[in-house]
C-alpha cells in the first residue's frame, strides 16, 4: 500500500495531472483511477449476476418440475440434491441468495457503482473523483463483501435462507432453519461491509458532483445521468445506515442474547429467554432502507436511459426541469413509503392508510417520467442502437411493472395479493428487469468509453435485446395470474396439496421462458468479452453525443483530458437545434452541439 502514499492527488487545476510510472498493481488492482474502478465494479457485478441468474434457473426448474431429479442439481448443489432432487432447504437458500445478490451486488454496486464512477468525473468535467483513495477503498470493500457472500454458499449448514429480507426470528434462530447459523452470520458480515462500501462511494459521489464541476457546468446544465447518480447517492447515505443498525441489532440478538427483535418464543421444545422485542421493529428498519433501495437501483437506470434516449432520438430530453423535479420528488417520497411492505404486518391500520397515501403519490412523478420519455421519442430521428433498444425496453417494463404497483400500494387490495407471486411479478418487472435493461443500455452505450474506443457488436446486441425482451415478458406476465390465483411465494413446491395443481403448466411456461432468457445472456457475455479484445474501434464520439465524456481522450489517462479541462457553455441536450432562420442546424451539417461549443451568434440558450 506504500504506493498510495505518493500517488497523485486529484488535480483540480487546469493543467493536467502528472504522470507517475504505474505498476501493474497500481494500474489494474489497487487503482485510484475512476475509470479502472468502474470497470472493476462492472466485472465484479457481472460475475455476481451470473451466479444470481444461474440460481434463479435452478429454482425455476424445481418449481416447474417439482421434485424431479436433474443431474444439473446434483452437480451444483451436491449434498442438497441427493439423487438430483432439490432439497427444500436449499430451495429457500437459492431464493434468498438470488435476491440478495441481484438487489445489492448486481443492481446496486454493479449498476450504480459502475456508472457513477465512470460518468460522474467524465460528465461534469473533473479529473477524477474527489477522493481517489476512498473510491478505491469503496471498491475493495465491495469486493470483500462479494467474496464473503460467495463463501457463505459453502458453509456446512448452508447459506442464509430466511429470504432476502431476513426477517427475524427466522433469521435469528438456527433452530428455526439451518441457514440461520454460520450462513446468516456471513450474510450479515458481508452486508455490513457492503454498506460501508456503499457509503464511502456515495459520499464521494456527492462531494464530487457538488465541488468538482468544470467551469460553466451549473447544476441545471448537468446531464440527467449525473442528477440521477447524485440523488441516488443522497438516498443511499440517508437509508443505508439504518440497515446497518438493523443488521447490528440482529447480530446482537443472534450472538449476544439481546432481545431487540425477539419475544415469547418457544422453539425446538424450549422457551427462549428473550422478552419484549418485536419483529415488526426489524421490518420498519429493514424497509426504511429496503424501499429507498428500490430507487437506489432504479434511478441510475432511469438517468442512463434519459441520456441514451435523448442522444439516440437526436432530440432534447422532453421536460428537463420536470425530469429533475421528479427525481427529487421520488427521492423524497421514497423515504416515507416503506410501510407499504407492512400493511398486514400487524402494525396499526391507521399507519397503513398514511402509507397508502404516500405510496400512491409516488406514482405521480413516475408517471411524469414515463410520459416525458414517450414525448422525447415523438418526432425524433431514432437511432436504433442496442443501447436505445434497451432504453425503450426499460420504459416499457417500467410502465407495466409500475402500473401493478397501484394495486399493491393500495392497502385494501394488498391484503389478498401480499406475498403472492403477483408481488414477485411486479417488482421483477419494475425494478429487476428495468434496472437490468438500464445496466445493459449503459454497457452498450459507454463500452467505447470504458474500453478505449472499442465497440460491442451491434447485431449480437440486437439478438440479445429481442430475445431478452420477449423472454422477460414471457416470464413475468403470466406470473401475475398465479399470484391472483392466490399462490404464495417462496413455496418449495406448489403441488404438495391439490388446490394449486392446475397452475403447474403456467409454471412450466414461465420456466421455459426463463431458461431461454438466461441462455441469451451468454450472447451478451460473449459479445462483452470478445469486444474488450477484438471489438471494432469506432470514432471518438460514436453516438454523436453532446456530453463531455466524449471530448476526453480515447486512450485512458489518469486525469481524463490531456490538455486543460473543457469549459461548458450549454446544457447537454442541444440535439437537432436549428439556427435562427431555421435553415440548418446550429452547427451546419451536424445535428448536435456538444456542451463545449460556445453559444453561436444570435443563438438563444434553452431556458430550462
Amino acid at each position: 500500500m506504500s504506493a498510495q502514499a505518493h500517488a497523485p492527488a486529484v488535480d483540480h487545476h487546469d493543467d493536467h495531472g502528472h504522470h507517475h510510472k504505474e505498476t501493474f498493481i497500481t494500474k489494474y488492482i489497487f487503482s485510484q483511477d475512476h475509470k479502472m474502478i468502474s470497470k472493476q465494479y462492472l466485472i465484479t457485478g457481472l460475475f455476481m449476476g451470473i451466479i444470481g441468474i444461474a440460481m434463479s434457473i435452478l429454482f425455476r426448474m424445481q418449481l416447474a418440475w417439482p421434485e424431479e431429479p436433474f443431474t444439473i442439481f446434483e452437480i451444483f448443489l451436491g449434498k442438497w440434491a441427493e439423487g438430483g432432487v432439490m432439497d427444500p432447504s436449499v430451495y429457500l437458500a437459492l431464493v434468498t441468495i438470488h435476491g440478495t445478490i441481484m438487489v445489492f451486488f448486481v443492481l446496486t454496486a454493479g449498476l450504480s457503482g459502475t456508472f457513477s464512477n465512470l460518468l460522474i468525473p467524465l460528465q461534469i468535467g473533473a479529473r477524477d473523483m474527489a477522493s481517489g483513495f476512498l473510491n478505491m477503498v469503496s471498491y475493495w470493500l465491495f469486493f470483500l463483501s462479494s467474496v464473503i457472500m460467495v463463501l457463505s454458499l459453502f458453509v456446512e449448514a448452508g447459506p442464509a435462507s430466511a429470504g432476502w429480507t431476513i426477517y427475524p426470528p427466522l433469521s435469528a434462530l438456527p433452530q428455526a432453519i439451518p441457514g440461520s447459523g454460520a450462513g446468516m452470520t456471513l450474510w450479515l458480515v458481508s452486508m455490513a461491509i457492503f454498506i460501508a462500501s456503499s457509503l464511502l462511494g456515495s459520499l464521494n459521489y456527492v462531494v464530487t458532483v457538488l465541488n468538482l464541476r468544470t467551469k460553466g457546468m451549473s447544476m441545471t446544465r448537468l446531464p440527467l445521468t449525473i442528477w440521477a447518480f447524485f440523488i441516488t447517492a443522497v438516498i443511499g447515505i440517508v437509508s443505508f445506515p439504518v440497515l446497518l443498525s438493523a443488521a447490528l441489532m440482529l447480530i446482537m440478538d443472534r450472538s449476544f442474547g439481546t432481545s431487540f427483535f425477539l419475544s415469547d418464543i418457544y422453539i425446538a421444545g424450549e422457551v427462549l429467554h428473550n422478552q419484549g422485542g418485536s419483529p415488526v421493529l426489524f421490518e420498519h428498519l429493514f424497509w426504511f432502507l429496503g424501499h429507498p433501495e428500490v430507487y437506489i437501483v432504479l434511478l441510475p437506470a432511469l438517468g442512463i436511459t434519459s441520456e441514451i434516449i435523448a442522444t439516440n432520438s437526436r432530440k432534447p430530453i422532453f421536460g428537463y426541469r420536470a425530469m429533475v423535479a421528479s427525481i427529487l420528488a421520488i427521492a423524497f417520497l421514497s423515504t416515507i413509503v416503506w410501510g407499504h411492505h407492512m400493511f398486514i404486518s400487524g402494525m396499526n391500520p391507521f399507519l397503513g392508510s398514511v402509507f397508502t397515501f404516500t405510496t400512491l403519490l409516488i406514482a405521480i412523478p413516475s408517471a411524469v417520467k414515463a410520459f416525458n420519455y414517450i414525448t422525447t421519442l415523438w418526432k425524433g430521428n431514432l437511432q436504433m442502437n442496442p443501447a436505445m433498444l434497451f432504453s425503450i425496453g426499460l420504459v416499457s417494463t417500467f410502465i407495466t411493472g409500475g402500473l401493478t404497483g397501484i394495486i399493491l400500494g393500495d392497502s385494501a387490495l394488498d391484503i389478498n395479493v401480499h406475498d403472492t407471486y403477483f408481488v414477485v411479478a411486479h417488482f421483477h418487472l419494475v425494478m429487476g428487469i428495468s434496472a437490468l435493461y438500464g445496466l445493459f443500455a449503459g454497457v452498450y452505450h459507454w463500452f467505447p468509453k470504458m474500453f478505449q474506443g472499442r465497440m460491442m457488436n451491434k447485431n449480437l446486441g440486437y439478438v440479445h435485446f429481442w430475445v431478452t425482451a420477449i423472454g422477460a415478458y414471457g416470464v413475468f406476465f403470466p406470473m401475475h395470474f398465479i399470484g391472483m390465483a392466490g399462490l404464495p411465494r417462496r413455496y418449495y413446491t406448489n403441488t404438495n396439496f391439490p388446490y394449486f395443481d392446475d397452475l403447474a403448466d403456467v409454471n412450466v411456461v414461465i420456466t421455459i421462458f426463463a431458461i431461454i432468457t438466461a441462455a441469451v445472456q451468454l450472447v451478451f457475455l460473449w459479445n462483452f468479452i470478445y469486444s474488450i479484445f477484438y471489438g471494432k474501434r469506432g470514432p471518438k464520439n460514436p453516438w454523436k453525443s453532446n456530453t463531455l465524456e466524449w471530448t476526453a481522450e480515447v486512450k485512458h489517462i489518469h486525469g481524463n483530458w490531456d490538455g486543460p479541462i473543457p469549459h461548458v457553455y450549454r446544457w447537454a441536450y442541444d440535439y437537432s437545434k436549428l439556427n435562427e432562420d431555421e435553415s440548418d442546424y446550429v452547427i451546419p451539417g451536424e445535428d448536435f452541439v456538444p456542451q463545449t461549443v460556445p453559444l453561436q451568434e444570435n443563438e438563444e440558450e434553452m431556458n430550462h
Partner: protein, 354 residues
Amino acid sequence: MTAFLVVLVIILFGVAVWQMSKIFEMSKTGPADNASEVASDKDNNVNGWLMMGFVLFIYLLSIISFWKWGDVLLPESASEHGVEIDQLMLISMALIFVVGIVTQWLLHYFAFKYRGKKTQRATFYADNDRLEFIWTIIPVIVLAGLIIYGLFTWTDIMDVNTDDDPMIVELYAYQFDWRARYGGEDNTLGEANVRLIEGVNQLGVDASDPYAQDDVVVNELHLPVGRKVLFKMRSQDVLHSAYMPHFRAQMNCVPGMITQFAFTPTVTTEEMRMNDAVVDKVRRINEIRRENSRELAAKGEETLEPYEFDYLLLCNKICGNNHYNMQMKIIVETQEEYDAWIAEQATLAEALKQ
C-alpha cells in the same frame, strides 16, 4: 396442455432462429453497411418494425394469458368485505389495463414511426408546460380517487371492534402447522403465553384462567356462515402469515404480540363447491390427478384420491423448510352444523384432565 407448451417453445425457438439468420445475413451485406457498430438506416428500419411486432406480442401475450389462465384466478369472494375488495380490484385493473395498453402503444408506435433515416430531421422540442401540467394533474386526480376509495375500503375492513358481537377465534401458528382456539360458551379466550406450553397444553393457555376452561382447541377451522368472526393471531416461534385467499383475508402472526383480522363468511363450503368456477377448477385438477395416478399406478405406487374443494388457510410468510406445507382446512357451514360440531369437541378443561 403439453402440446400447447411444445408448440409455444417451437414458435419461440423458430423466432430466435429466424432472428439469428436474419442478423447473420445482415452482417454479410458487404462492408459498406457493416463498417461500424453504429446503427445504420437499415438497422433502424428493421428494429423499428420489430418494435411494432413487440407491442403486438405484448397484446397477444395478454390475450393468450387471459384465455389460457383466466380461469385459475380465485373464485368470487366468500366473505362480506371481499366483495368490496373485488370491486376495487376490478376498477383498478380496468384502469391500469387502459393506461397500459395506450402507453405501450404510444411508446412502441413512436419508436416505429420515427425510426431514424439519414434524410429525416428531429424536431427540437424541449418543453411544454401545459402538456406537462396536464399529465401531472390527470394522475393526481385519478390517484386521488383511487386513494380515497381504497382508504374507505381499508378502514372499513380493518376497523376491528366487538360491537356486533363477533365470534372470537384464535389462530395459532407454529412450525409447521396451525391450531384454532374457540372462546367457547363465554366467547372469551383464556390468557396464554408460550411459557405455559406443557404436554397437551400445546398453546400455552393459562389453565387457571376461568375464561380458559371452556376454550376449544382444534386443527380444523369451522365457521358458521353469516356470523362475524374476529381472529386473534399468535405465533409460537417465527413470523407466519394467516392467508385465507377465498375470504380476501390475511394477517401476519407475530411472536410476542397478538394481531387481529375480522370478517364475515357468506358462502358455505357446500355452496362454494357448487360454484361454476370452482366446479370447473375441481374438474381440471381431477383430470391432472387422474393422469398422475395413471403414471403412479404404472409404477406400482398408490394412486391419488379425487380432489374435493375446501377453503384453505395457508402460511404466507417464509417460516422454514416446510413453509410450503403449512395449511389448515376451513369449513364454512350453517349455524346448526356448526353447533353440532362444536358440541362434540372437548373443552380445554376436559382435554387437560385426560
